[in-house]
Amino acid sequence: MSRFLFPRWSNLVLPTIILAGATVPIYAIFFVAYGFSPKTLEVGYQPQQPVPFSHALHAGELGMDCRYCHTSVEKAAHASVPPTQTCMNCHTQIRPESPKLAKVKESYTTGLPVEWTRIHKLPDFAYFDHSAHVNRGIGCVSCHGRIDKMEVVYQKSPLSMGWCLDCHRNPDVNLRPLDKITNLSFDSATDLTETERLDLKKKYHISPSEDCSTCHR
């Protein structure tokens, strides 16, 4: 019986393994770090809603205040999505026959809710309170972006813990006067001087906590 001889190409096996051994882990680390980060997975999430409600029209063109619909934002943890009744306050008069409003009207007559798809979602172990922020100088735009320019709303910020902490560690740049909270075009960074922002910080005792218990309970 003749001796088994490795074919010549087998000389390449070892260098290939070494190369793969060196690059694959790096690739994998990059893949996981980038591919699984909220920036990749969450930002830009823009599901189709059952009703083609346009924030660009209502909050932008018409200039409606956020709090006309999101009534509990100053009182509760949730900003709350308005009841169908809120839509019909106007739409019994304005474009009542528009086909885009069919589902809203249906909900209004049947009493069954419109099922909106949730966009901004925190994990169940994280507790964010809208009222704690909007009452002390953090505006809607800081997290939600220029909603007044969104035809279909998407997630602007990663809503990751690191992103939350960036602001908790350095809140100054996002502080604004309470009367500008829902003003989406107001930019604290450019429209306020540093002294003005520091005055606000002093006025409302802004010293955001970095304790775990602030958000996790």
């Binding site: 100053e74 009841p83 169908t84 009744q85 419109v114 979602k121 172990f125 994280a126 005792h205 996790h216």
Partner: protein, 1091 residues
């Protein structure tokens, strides 16, 4: 030199090492320091907590884990599941999403309504808290807390049944129409109604309407926990019906004769609050401190007995003799037959003779400020004697009041009904609630007699033994108290409304009606909804109408009580000496030394009503620490005499029947007798939780002897495994290989207590019970200076009764899972707060006393758990709270291992996703064990499975498998208070508002355990506010830290217990102070280094 820790003797163990026999011990095993106990003490959890059971099961486990991992990989590749936001169609007035609303309503427990505030979160009731509207009703108990879980019980009855077949409400209504026609024609002849003893003005009104329509109908009640002896005793003593109501808050001396006043499911919260009034050690000048004194004579060990200053362990029948002896000493006539009984000589030893003399002297001295109370399981004679003593003392009108009582006892009523059924006189029987087929006295043989009626309508919340009986022709499911309007009477008689928070969560075609609505249907009433019926009755009560009535009604609903409707105490007639003599004569004939079994009202299932509530089943019994079962309790000496060990199965036979039960030896129990709690031992019919829990004692009970029976006990050979927690979580620093006569002997004890006289002389005794060396830290201590808040808690051991309301309240608030019997047996119970119960003394047969100590995470400033966590999942926040970060935890359990107090709990499984049943096999899992019930489909296909989740508190994370958890000081409540306070301040203008900074007033943050505590023994607050109650109490000389020798600096401080015994209440009684060991310098830092 006597030392408090070591007691007097030591025992040598098999390892040849000497172990101290501690003065305080948890169990016989602890007292003897058996090798098993020592191992348990040294370990984080008990044996089997961490190991998988056997090879086969391990293989299954690995397979499942493998599959789980593979799936986890796939699942990670997408955004998390899409979720919906469903807003209302129409806005709801006064409702903000995410802001809970409190409604004043009431909860009925065994016929007594307790005013509560029900918390509704986005339309779901999630928690009950006591409603302080009546002054005494601030706290609550475990049963009241658990009633919210009952609403969501997947095992509750949901379908109308006709002769065992599913039917619907419409068919029942049609039948009710025929019923109406038939009985209107004959005036109700052959008709009987049996209620479960609940009452209220509306039910009374419906009763009178029912009886007006069907005048010949029989109407009676049966509540297995009601006592005929109370009625009969009063009738004999006064010649009329009366119910005695003691006021412990007014009494300087109380003698409690076999009555679990403080632990009673229906009235315990009231009596606990009253008792605690005279037990707080708060006098500014310690030498002027006064305390009331409670003597208890009882066969078993109850919450009341454990809180007593002096306790006599007496057999049930001997308590009557004891009462007669007291009466005789006080000069009450007519008790000679009992006092002269042969047993009178047998019930005392030298020690108890001395205590007895002190008792008599105390009663004489206190006069009208003393009170004698007899318990429901005592015979009529004891009640009559108690009435006679109270009269003699002049206590009537001061420490005891009498109210109108029922004309006859429930036992007599059901017996009467049984006889009527047997004679064929009853054609149609309507049972409103209750479960007589299970809990009626054995001699009535109700289940068999029921078959004599041609129609039996059973209306109840659960489809129980009675509904499933072949005699039952209609079963109608009842709505929960949170689903319907009604009312009831509080313990003082005040009318308390019951308002619904949610629509019936059952198919509306199946009814969803309550008792008053059922009666309305049966009477063809024009008012059909409970709302109309209750308002109609209240118009009658108030005599108002129109806007005046509306204002009155709204006011009552807001307050949760109708003011001025408390019962008026009656002028008690003089005790009839002749009748007393006769009653004692009769009673004396029944007294003897034979072995007897007494019955006990269980503080958890209360006769079986609440048997299917997992929170209650899993709550360790306050005295025995047994979970998920009851047991035949007896003294260790009696068990030895009968050749029985813990867990041995025995057959208990009495005249009326026999039951099989397992034995549990309970130190402190009276000898030559046994006690068994009622309400267990039900089959599958009772529901998935209650099925096969414990042993049914009802077959022993006869209507002539509802309190106890003479019986024999015979070993059957089998054994039964109990899941008890008395040796779980042993917090102790004793180390086996260190000599006990050295350093360890001087360590301070966990429980510190003394007698009033000693306290008056040495108010700082708690600081001198041991020796604490230099307070040096092994690691860098947390720097908590400059914090805005320093949250802290004190637990007052003088007023803690061990009732365990806090345990269940915490479970309700913090989404603590139910783990099941098999898991508890492995030491995996998840309670964030536990109540340790200790026996005191050197002898297992005669414990000198009892001590209870609630244990929760002590939030050490210098926390050992934090030092060992590899991922910093448990850290301090700046308020000084030791926080547990679930999302960081990787489940090494090092923290738990390093926690000297053993208060950390590990999620060995996703307990919320499994059914907390009693399965024995470790991995014999439910089919949907690994399935996430709520997320399998949307909307949920089978709503029943997801029902219990509706109780979850959305403000608290639901923990999943593999993470550690523990008390968070109710972080969600602190955050809530903080955010609200900050918002209000910022809205007012921040620093421009006139207030320099925002602040939370003292008392704005109340933890769940604190809120539930009937005696307000738990106080929580901010140490930075020198005026806060907690800051005051921490400064008290009674405050001490547990295991302070470890220098953990806990934020939870205990206030040492001060008792007021009748004998030996002098300078020193087993407690060390100023003995030359040197002092604990914990509060005297300047000496630390000079020491």
């Amino acid at each position: 030199m006597h030392d408090s820790r070591t007691g007097c003797d030591t025992t040598t163990t098999d390892a040849g090492m000497k172990f101290a026999r501690a003065e305080y011990w948890r169990s016989e095993e602890d007292l003897e320091k058996t090798p098993e106990f020592r191992e348990l003490m040294a370990r984080e959890f008990g044996p089997n907590a961490q190991e998988l059971a056997n090879g086969d099961e391990r293989r299954t486990f690995i397979k499942l884990m493998g599959a789980g991992l593979a799936l986890a990989g796939l699942a990670a590749c997408r955004r998390w599941p899409e979720s919906k936001i469903v807003a209302f169609s129409q806005a709801q007035a006064g409702r903000t999403p995410g802001i809970p609303v409190g409604f004043a309503t009431s909860v009925d427990v065994l016929g007594v309504s307790w005013p509560v505030i029900a918390k509704s979160y986005d339309g779901r009731p999630i928690k009950f808290e006591g409603n302080p509207t009546l002054g005494f009703s601030k706290g609550s108990n475990a049963i009241i807390q658990s009633r919210v879980l009952e609403l969501y019980d997947p095992d509750r009855s949901r379908t109308v049944h006709r002769k065992g077949q599913p039917s619907d409400w419409a068919s029942f209504a049609t039948w009710a129409g025929e019923f109406n026609t038939k009985f209107k024609a004959n005036g109700g002849a052959g008709l009987a109604v049996l209620t479960d003893g609940t009452s209220g003005p509306t039910l009374d009104d419906m009763k009178s309407r029912f009886l007006a329509l069907y005048p010949k109908a029989w109407w009676g009640s049966w509540n297995a926990m009601a006592s005929d002896a109370v009625v009969d005793g009063a009738k004999a003593a006064f010649g009329r019906s009366a119910v005695a109501m003691p006021f412990l808050g007014k009494a300087k001396v109380a003698l409690v004769l076999d009555a679990d006043l403080l632990g009673c499911p229906a009235t315990g919260v009231f009596h606990s609050a009253e008792w605690a009034k005279n037990r707080r050690v708060e006098a500014a000048d310690a030498s002027k401190q006064e305390l009331s004194r409670m003597y208890v004579a009882e066969p078993s060990v109850t919450v009341t007995g454990m809180s007593a200053d002096e306790r006599f362990a007496l057999r049930r029948s001997d308590v009557a003799v004891f009462a007669a002896l007291v009466a005789k000493e006080l000069g009450v006539g007519g008790v000679d037959a009992l006092a002269g009984n042969a047993r009178a000589g047998a019930i005392f030893n030298d020690k108890t003779k001395e205590v007895f003399a002190a008792l008599v002297a105390d009663l004489k001295a206190a006069g009208r400020d003393a009170v004698v109370v007899a318990g429901p399981m005592q015979d009529a004679a004891t009640h009559a004697i108690a009435a006679a003593i109270n009269e003699k003392l002049g206590a009537v009108g001061n420490t005891v009041a009498y109210f109108d009582g029922p004309a006859s006892g429930h036992g007599a009523q059901i017996k009467q009904l049984g006889e009527a059924l047997a004679s064929g006189a009853i054609d149609t029987l309507v049972i409103l609630g209750g479960n007589p087929a299970y809990d009626a006295p054995a001699d009535v043989d109700f289940a068999a007699k029921m078959t004599k009626a041609s129609e039996v309508v059973h209306f109840s919340f659960y489809a129980n033994e009675t509904s499933k009986s072949s005699a039952c022709t209609w079963h109608v499911p009842s709505a929960h108290s949170l689903e319907s309007w009604s009312d009831g009477r509080a313990i003082d008689g005040t009318i308390v409304p019951q308002q619904p928070l949610i629509l019936p969560i059952m198919d509306s075609a199946q009814g969803g009606r309550n008792a008053i609505e059922l009666l309305a249907t049966l009477t063809g009433d024009e008012a059909t909804s409970s709302y109309e019926i209750v308002r109609r009755a209240h118009m009658k009560v108030s005599g108002l109408s129109g806007t005046a009535f509306e204002a009155w009604w709204r006011g009552n609903l807001d307050r949760g009580a109708v003011e001025g409707t408390a019962w008026k105490a009656m002028q008690a007639p003089a005790v009839n000496a002749g009748a007393l003599t006769e009653l004692c004569g009769k009673a004396a004939a029944g007294v003897g030394g034979e072995f007897e079994v007494g019955f006990q009202i269980d503080g958890k299932v209360a006769g079986g009503h609440f048997a299917n509530l997992g929170w209650l089943q899993e709550m360790p019994d306050p005295a025995t620490k047994i979970t998920w079962d009851n047991a035949l309790l007896m003294a260790p000496a009696t068990a030895r005499k009968l050749g029985l060990a813990k867990g041995d199965m025995v057959k208990v036979s009495a005249g009326s029947g026999s039951v099989d039960a397992a034995v549990w030896a309970l130190p402190g129990h009276a000898e030559d007798c046994a006690t068994i709690a009622l309400g267990y031992g039900r089959g599958e019919v009772a529901g998935r939780i209650a099925a096969n829990a414990g042993f049914n004692a009802y077959p022993l009970r006869s209507s002539a002897s509802l309190g106890g029976v003479k019986s024999t006990v015979a070993k059957t050979g089998g054994t039964y495994a109990f899941a008890h927690t008395q040796d779980h979580g042993v917090a102790d620093a004793l180390i086996g290989n260190v000599p006990t006569d050295g350093v360890q002997a001087r360590l301070p004890v966990l429980v510190r207590e003394t007698h009033l006289a000693n306290y008056q002389a040495h108010p700082d005794f708690a600081r001198h019970v041991g020796h604490v060396a230099h307070r040096l830290s092994l690691w860098e201590e947390s720097n908590l200076e400059g914090a805005k808040y320093r949250w802290a808690m004190t637990i007052d051991l003088s007023t803690c009764t061990g009732c365990s309301a806090c345990v269940v309240a915490c479970q309700a608030e913090n989404n603590v899972p139910i783990v099941g019997k098999a898991m508890v047996a492995r030491g995996r119970e998840m309670h964030w707060i536990r109540v340790d119960r200790y026996f005191r003394g050197e002898n297992v047969d005669s414990p000198k006393g009892f001590a209870v100590q609630p244990m929760t995470c002590l939030h050490c400033e210098n926390a050992p758990c934090e030092q060992v966590c590899p991922v910093a999942a448990t850290v301090h926040d700046e308020q000084g709270i030791n926080v547990m970060v679930y999302n960081r935890c990787i489940g090494t359990r090092y923290c738990s291992n390093n926690c000297p107090y053993k208060v950390r709990r590990f999620n060995f499984f996703d307990y919320h996703k499994r059914e907390p049943g009693r399965e024995e096999g470790f991995l014999k899992v439910q089919p949907d064990y690994y399935k996430d019930i709520a997320e399998t489909s949307y909307p949920i296909d089978n709503p029943a499975d997801a029902f219990p989740r509706m109780q979850f508190n959305p403000e608290v994370t639901v923990r999943s498998r593999g993470v550690m958890e523990k008390c968070s000081f109710c972080m969600q409540r602190i955050q809530e208070a903080k955010i609200r306070a900050k918002n209000a301040w910022a809205k007012a203008g921040g620093v421009d508002s006139g207030q320099g900074t925002w602040s939370i007033p003292d008392g704005a943050v109340v933890t769940a355990c604190q809120q539930a505590c009937p005696t307000q023994a738990i106080v929580f607050g901010d140490l930075n506010d020198p005026k806060s109650r907690v800051a005051q109490l921490v400064k008290s000389k009674l405050s001490y830290e547990l295991l302070e020798e470890l220098n953990t600096k806990p934020r939870v401080k205990y206030l040492a217990r001060v008792k007021n015994p009748g004998v030996g209440n002098t300078h020193d009684c087993g407690h060390d102070h100023g003995d030359g060991h040197g002092h604990d310098h914990s509060n005297d830092k300047s000496h630390d280094h000079a020491h």
